[in-house]
C-alpha cells in the first residue's frame, strides 16, 4: 500500500527566499533546480516570501491545477510556520499532514552565513530529505478533544488578579491559585507606584475586592500546584490545599484572636522589620479577609496547649483539625502568573546587606515608608530608629552583573554557598531605576532637607512619563552619581561609608550616609523550576519562563493552552503586567470558546501479528496510553488514543518492532536519514 502511495505521489516543492534571509546566503535557484529531478516532484518554484499571500496562492493554485498531493516547503523553522501552511493545505482540500518543511533558514542560512557554498549544499540535502519524507506521508485524521470552558490562573499578584478579572468578566469560570494566605503579591507590599505616586494598595485593593466578589472567580489561597495532566482544552490539575486552621466563611476578620494570641513572631509581610502574632492576617486588606494560623509558631501546634484564639473567637471559626489535602480541578487553559522574587542582596557581600543594620533593600524601604508599615510611615533606620539625614541609593544590585558579579563573595566564607536567588544576574531588571527614582523622591517629599544620592550605571527610564519623573527628581535636588560603589563600610555610629569613582568627573568620592538602599533586581520566583517541569514549560537562559515567540506570542508558551502573565516571563512594571494579563486572558478565552479542539493524531500503529504482548511498551509509556490486553490471539498491545501524546517511546522500544508511530513512521524516518545523506 505504501508502495502505491509512493508511486502516485505528486509533490510540489517551494523554496523560499525569505527576502534576503535565505537568499542572501543560500543559492535558492540552485536548491530549486536540485529538487526538480527528485522522484515524485511535479513542480518546483521559488518565492520571495512563501508565507505571503502571493506565495500561498501559488501553492493553492498548484494544488488545484497540478493535482498535487504532497507539499514540501523549504523555508523557516516548522516551529514558526507549520501551522500556517497546514491551514493552507486544508483550505486547498489536502490533508494538513501531507506537508513537510525543510528548515533552511534557522538551521542553514542564518548559521552558515560565512560559507554560502556549503550552506547551499546543505540546503539541497535538507530538501531531498523533506521530499523523501513527503513521499511517504499519509493523510491523518485529527481526533477531537473536549474543551472544559474554565481557566486556572496560578499566582495571585497583580497579573494573576487582572487575568482572573478579565476572564471572570467574560463569564468564564476561573480558579485563582495563590500559595500565600492572601492574594495581592508584591504590589500589595509597595507603598507608592511610579511615576504617578499612587498609593499602591489604594489601587490594588479594589481589584482584590472585585475578585472576591466576582461569582465566576474562585480563590484558592494557601494552595500549590502538585501535578498537571492532560492537554489544551482538557487539563487535570492536582492542587495541594494547605490548612488555614481558620474557617474562611466564618471568620469576619475582627482580630480578637490576634489581640489575645500570646506568640509574637517576625512579620514577613513587613520584611521581618515588625512583628505579628501566630494567628494573623498578612495585611488589613487581605483577600480572603480571613486570619490564618502559622502552625510553625502557634503554641497549640508546637506545645500542644493554648487554644486562646478558639476561646476568644465568637464565631467559632478556629479549626485546629484542618488538614492539607489535594483537590483535582479540570480546566481548559492555564495562565501562569507566579511573578518574581526580589534578588537576595546578601549575594553581594561588599554592600553589607544582612551585616550592616542600616543597609536595606528597595522592598524593605517600601515597608519602612508605608503608613501601614512597622514604623507607621516614619523613615527610621532599622539600626537605631533615627531618621536618616543622608540617604544613598545603589542601583543594579543583582542585575546587569555579567562578569563582575562574584567579586567579594569568596572573601566571606562564613556566608556559605550562595543561594539561587542571590546569584547576580546578567539582565537588566527593568523596574529598579524607576523604583529608585520614586523612592528618592519620596524621601525628599517627607524630609525636604534630607540629602539624597543615587549611584547608577545608566538611568533607564523608558516608559510613559518616566523620563519626566526622573528629570523632576533631578531638579528637586537628588544627586545622581554615575559609578557603582566598590564596597560599603560601616562606621562606629552605624553610618555607612561609600567609596566610588564618579565616572562623570573622574574623581574618587568618599561619602558617608545614614542609610543605604540597595535597588535589588527581580529574579525568578522560588519553586518556578519545579512548576515549569510539572507543566513541561521551557525556561529562558535568565531562568524565567519562555514565551511562545519573543515578538508575536509574548503571552503564550510552547505548550498549547498554557499562557503567561506578568514577571514570570520577565521583569516588568505594573502596567505591562496588567497588559500581558489581558493578552493571556484573551488567549485563554479563545481556547475556552471552542466546543472541541483538534488533537494531533500522532499515536502508535500496532502490528498485532508481530506483537508478542511483552508489555515493554506498557512499562515505558509515561501516560499509561498503551496497554496489553488479552485477545483471542493472546496478549496484544492496544493504544488508548485519548491518553497518547505521541512521543514515540513505545515505537522505538518495542522488542519485536511491532509498533510504529503515525507521522513519524520507521519508514519515513529511515527514508529521511537516507536522503539527507545522498551524494548527488
Amino acid at each position: 500500500m505504501q508502495q502505491g502511495i509512493e508511486s502516485s505521489a505528486r509533490i510540489g516543492v517551494y523554496v523560499c527566499h525569505c527576502g534576503l534571509n535565505i537568499a542572501g546566503v543560500v543559492d535558492v535557484e540552485a536548491v530549486r533546480e536540485s529538487a526538480r529531478s527528485l522522484e515524485g516532484v511535479v513542480v518546483v518554484r521559488d518565492n520571495r516570501y512563501t508565507c505571503s499571500e502571493v506565495g500561498q496562492k501559488s501553492i493553492a493554485d498548484d494544488i488545484r491545477e497540478l493535482m498535487l498531493n504532497r507539499v514540501v516547503i523549504a523555508s523557516c523553522s516548522p516551529r514558526l510556520h507549520e501551522k500556517t501552511f497546514r491551514t493552507l493545505l486544508e483550505k486547498s482540500g489536502l490533508n494538513p499532514h501531507l506537508l513537510e518543511m525543510a528548515n533552511i533558514r534557522e538551521h542553514c542560512s542564518w548559521v552558515h552565513y560565512d560559507d554560502p557554498e556549503a550552506a547551499t549544499e546543505k540546503a539541497k540535502h535538507l530538501v531531498r530529505s523533506a521530499v523523501a519524507r513527503a513521499r511517504l506521508l499519509q493523510p491523518l485524521s485529527r481526533a477531537k478533544g473536549r474543551v472544559i470552558p474554565k481557566v486556572m490562573v496560578v499566582g495571585g499578584g497583580v497579573a494573576g488578579i487582572s487575568a482572573a478579572l478579565y476572564l471572570g468578566g467574560m463569564g468564564i469560570k476561573t480558579y485563582l491559585v495563590e500559595r500565600e494566605p492572601s492574594i495581592g503579591g508584591h504590589m500589595a507590599m509597595l507603598d507608592k507606584t511610579f511615576p504617578t505616586l499612587d498609593c499602591s494598595l489604594c489601587i490594588l485593593s479594589p481589584k482584590m475586592v472585585e475578585v472576591a466578589e466576582c461569582e465566576n472567580i474562585e480563590i484558592l489561597s494557601l494552595s500549590e500546584i502538585e501535578k498537571v495532566e492532560g492537554q489544551v482544552g482538557d487539563f487535570r490539575i492536582q492542587v495541594r490545599r494547605k490548612p488555614r486552621y481558620v474557617n474562611e466563611e466564618k471568620c469576619v476578620g475582627c482580630g480578637d484572636c490576634a489581640a489575645k494570641c500570646p506568640v509574637k513572631v517576625e512579620d514577613e509581610f513587613n520584611r521581618n522589620m515588625g512583628t505579628r502574632k501566630a494567628i494573623y492576617i498578612p495585611f488589613p486588606q487581605a483577600i480572603p479577609p480571613a486570619y490564618v494560623i502559622d502552625e510553625k509558631n502557634c503554641r497549640y501546634f508546637t506545645q500542644g496547649k493554648c487554644k486562646v484564639c478558639e476561646k476568644v473567637c465568637e464565631r467559632g471559626a478556629i479549626e485546629y483539625d484542618q488538614t492539607s489535602y489535594t483537590e483535582t480541578i479540570e480546566v481548559g487553559a492555564i495562565i501562569v502568573a507566579t511573578g518574581f522574587q526580589p534578588y537576595d542582596a546578601r549575594g553581594l557581600p561588599q554592600y553589607g546587606y544582612g551585616r550592616f543594620a542600616n543597609v536595606i533593600t528597595s522592598l524593605d524601604f517600601e515597608r519602612l515608608i508605608c503608613a501601614d508599615g512597622p514604623t507607621y510611615g516614619k523613615l527610621k533606620r532599622p539600626g537605631d530608629g533615627k531618621v536618616p539625614k543622608r540617604v544613598a541609593f545603589i542601583q543594579c544590585v543583582g542585575s546587569r552583573n555579567a562578569s563582575s558579579g562574584d567579586r567579594g563573595y569568596e572573601s566571606c566564607p562564613e556566608m556559605g554557598p550562595r543561594a539561587e536567588a542571590a546569584e547576580p544576574k546578567a539582565y537588566c531588571s527593568r523596574v529598579c531605576c524607576m523604583i529608585t527614582a520614586k523612592q528618592a523622591f519620596m524621601v525628599l517629599e517627607k524630609y525636604p532637607d534630607a540629602e539624597v544620592y543615587v549611584y547608577y550605571i545608566d538611568m533607564r527610564t523608558a516608559g510613559k512619563g518616566f523620563e519626566e519623573f526622573y528629570r523632576r527628581g533631578r531638579s528637586e535636588g537628588i544627586v545622581f552619581l554615575r559609578g557603582k560603589p566598590g564596597e560599603i563600610e560601616e562606621t562606629d555610629d552605624g553610618c555607612l561609608r561609600v567609596v566610588s569613582e564618579d565616572m562623570d568627573s573622574g574623581c574618587i568620592l568618599d561619602l558617608t550616609f545614614d542609610m543605604v538602599v540597595l535597588a535589588q533586581g527581580l529574579v525568578p520566583p522560588h519553586g518556578l523550576v519545579e512548576l515549569a517541569q510539572k507543566m513541561n514549560l521551557s525556561r529562558s537562559e535568565d531562568g524565567f519562563l519562555m514565551e511562545g515567540h519573543p515578538k508575536l506570542r509574548p503571552a503564550e508558551t510552547g505548550i498549547d493552552g498554557i499562557y503567561l502573565a506578568g514577571c514570570v516571563q520577565f521583569p516588568k512594571d505594573i502596567p505591562d503586567s496588567v497588559a500581558q494579563a489581558g493578552a493571556a486572558a484573551a488567549a485563554a478565552a479563545v481556547t475556552c470558546s471552542k466546543d472541541t479542539i483538534e488533537i494531533d493524531p500522532l499515536g502508535p500503529v500496532i502490528d498485532a501479528e508481530l506483537c508478542i504482548g511483552c508489555k515493554l511498551c506498557e512499562m515505558l509509556c509515561p501516560y499509561g496510553a498503551i496497554r496489553v490486553e488479552l485477545t483471542d490471539k493472546g496478549p496484544k498491545a492496544k493504544s488508548i488514543e485519548v491518553a497518547c501524546k505521541g512521543c514515540g517511546v513505545c515505537g522505538a522500544s518495542c522488542s519485536t518492532k511491532a509498533i510504529t508511530m503515525k507521522h513519524y513512521t520507521d519508514s519515513q524516518l529511515t527514508a529521511q536519514a537516507k536522503a539527507i545523506l545522498e551524494v548527488v
Binding site: Y113, K122, N536, S538, M546, C614, L616, C647, V649, A673
Partner: protein, 333 residues
C-alpha cells in the same frame, strides 16, 4: 568451551525470562511508580550525565589541543557528515534559537526532527552510517525536562547500549553522541555541534583505512549492518528497554541488578546476537555452508554450527542444499 557457553546461554535466557515474567506481573503497578521513578531519576541521572559530559569535554579538549589548527587549515581536509536527531520541544528549538541569534557553527550537521529523543530507535541511530554519515547526534531535553517526561531517559539507555554494541564491533563509539540542549541554549547547541564535529574529525572518515578504526568501507558497512540487525533483535531491545528499571528499581524480591551484572548480561547478548546477525547477513546473500561462514567470520566452526542451528530453529535460516559433505543454508527473510 562449548559447555561454558551453553551454561551462559541458559543463565542469560533464564534471567531474561524471569525478568519478563516479573515485568508482566509488575506491569499493573508500573504507572504508579513512574512519578517516583522520575523524581529519583532526576537526581541519579543528573549525576550520571554530569560525569559523562565532563568526560566528553575533557576528551574533546585534549583532542583540540592536538592538531585542530593544522587540519582546519588544510585544503580538502576531511569534512565529516553528521546527522542529528533533535527532539521538537527542546533541542530543535535550541537549534532554532542558534539560528535566530545568528550563531555560526560547522555546516557538517544535518538535522532530522523527531517529536522526542525517545522516538529514536536504536536501529535509526545506525541508519545514517549505512549511507555517508561519519557521526550521529541524538539531542533531547535536559533530564527531567522532557516534554513527554521520560523519553530522554530512554534515549540515554539506547545510546549507551548502542555504543557498547559499536565498541564490540570495533567501531569507534565516539561516532554516536547524546546530549541535552534546552530551548534556551542556542549557544550551547552551536558549541556542541562544533565539539562533536571536531571529535568526529579526529576519528576520521567512517570506513576508510586512515580512520581510527582502520576499517575498509566495505567492512565498516558490514559491521554496521550487523549492528543494525542486532538492534532489531528482541533480546537486545528488551534489555535496552528494561535497562533503566533493572538498574534503578527493585524487583519483587527487593533486589536491584548491579551495573556490572547488567553489563555482563548485555555484552553476552551482544556477542551472541552479533554472531547470529553476521551469519544471517551472509546467508541472505546466497546459500552458504557453516564452514564457509566460519572462514569468512574467522570463527570456530563449532560455534557457527551452534548458532546456525539456533537460527534454523528460530525459522530464520533454512537448509538450501547439500554440497559435497556440507549442508548449505539460506536466509528466509
Amino acid at each position: 568451551m562449548a559447555e561454558q557457553v551453553t551454561v551462559d546461554v541458559n543463565q542469560a535466557e533464564g534471567v531474561l525470562e524471569t525478568e519478563r515474567v516479573q515485568g508482566l506481573e509488575q506491569a499493573s503497578g508500573t504507572c504508579n511508580t513512574i512519578e517516583a521513578q522520575r523524581v529519583e531519576a532526576e537526581q541519579v541521572e543528573a549525576e550520571q550525565v554530569k560525569v559523562e559530559r565532563v568526560e566528553v569535554k575533557h576528551a574533546v579538549d585534549a583532542e583540540n589541543a592536538f592538531d585542530a589548527e593544522e587540519d582546519l587549515g588544510k585544503e580538502g581536509a576531511f569534512e565529516p557528515v553528521i546527522v542529528g536527531f533533535l527532539c521538537n520541544w527542546c533541542s530543535y528549538a535550541g537549534a532554532d534559537l542558534a539560528g535566530t541569534s545568528r550563531l555560526s557553527y560547522p555546516t557538517n550537521l544535518r538535522v532530522i526532527r523527531v517529536m522526542c529523543s525517545g522516538r529514536v530507535d536504536p536501529g535509526l541511530m545506525l541508519e545514517p552510517f549505512l549511507s555517508a554519515a561519519d557521526g550521529v547526534m541524538v539531542l533531547g531535553c535536559h533530564p527531567a525536562d522532557c516534554h513527554y517526561m521520560t523519553g530522554n531517559y530512554q534515549a540515554e539507555q539506547r545510546v549507551l547500549c548502542v555504543k557498547a554494541l559499536l565498541a564490540h564491533l570495533g567501531i569507534a563509539s565516539g561516532r554516536l553522541y547524546l546530549d541535552w540542549v534546552s530551548a534556551a541554549e542556542g549557544a550551547r547547541f552551536a558549541e556542541l555541534v562544533a565539539e562533536f564535529t571536531n571529535q568526529v574529525k579526529k576519528l576520521g572518515p567512517a570506513g576508510c583505512g586512515e580512520s581510527q578504526e582502520g576499517l575498509s568501507r566495505e567492512e565498516f558497512i558490514r559491521r554496521v549492518r550487523v549492528a543494525k540487525r542486532v538492534c532489531e533483535k528482541e533480546k537486545f531491545r528488551w534489555l535496552v528497554g528494561r535497562r533503566k528499571a533493572l538498574l534503578e528499581e527493585e524487583n519483587v524480591y527487593g533486589e536491584k541488578l548491579q551495573a556490572g551484572k547488567f553489563n555482563d548480561l548485555m555484552s553476552f547478548v551482544i556477542t551472541e546476537e552479533c554472531l547470529r546477525a553476521a551469519i544471517e547477513l551472509l546467508a541472505e546473500e546466497g546459500p552458504i555452508s557453516c564452514k564457509e561462514i566460519a572462514e569468512v567470520l574467522g570463527m570456530p566452526a563449532g560455534k557457527v554450527l551452534e548458532h546456525t542451528a539456533y537460527l534454523k530453529r528460530a525459522g530464520l535460516l533454512e537448509l538450501h542444499d547439500v554440497r559435497g559433505q556440507s549442508p548449505r543454508y539460506v536466509a528466509l527473510r
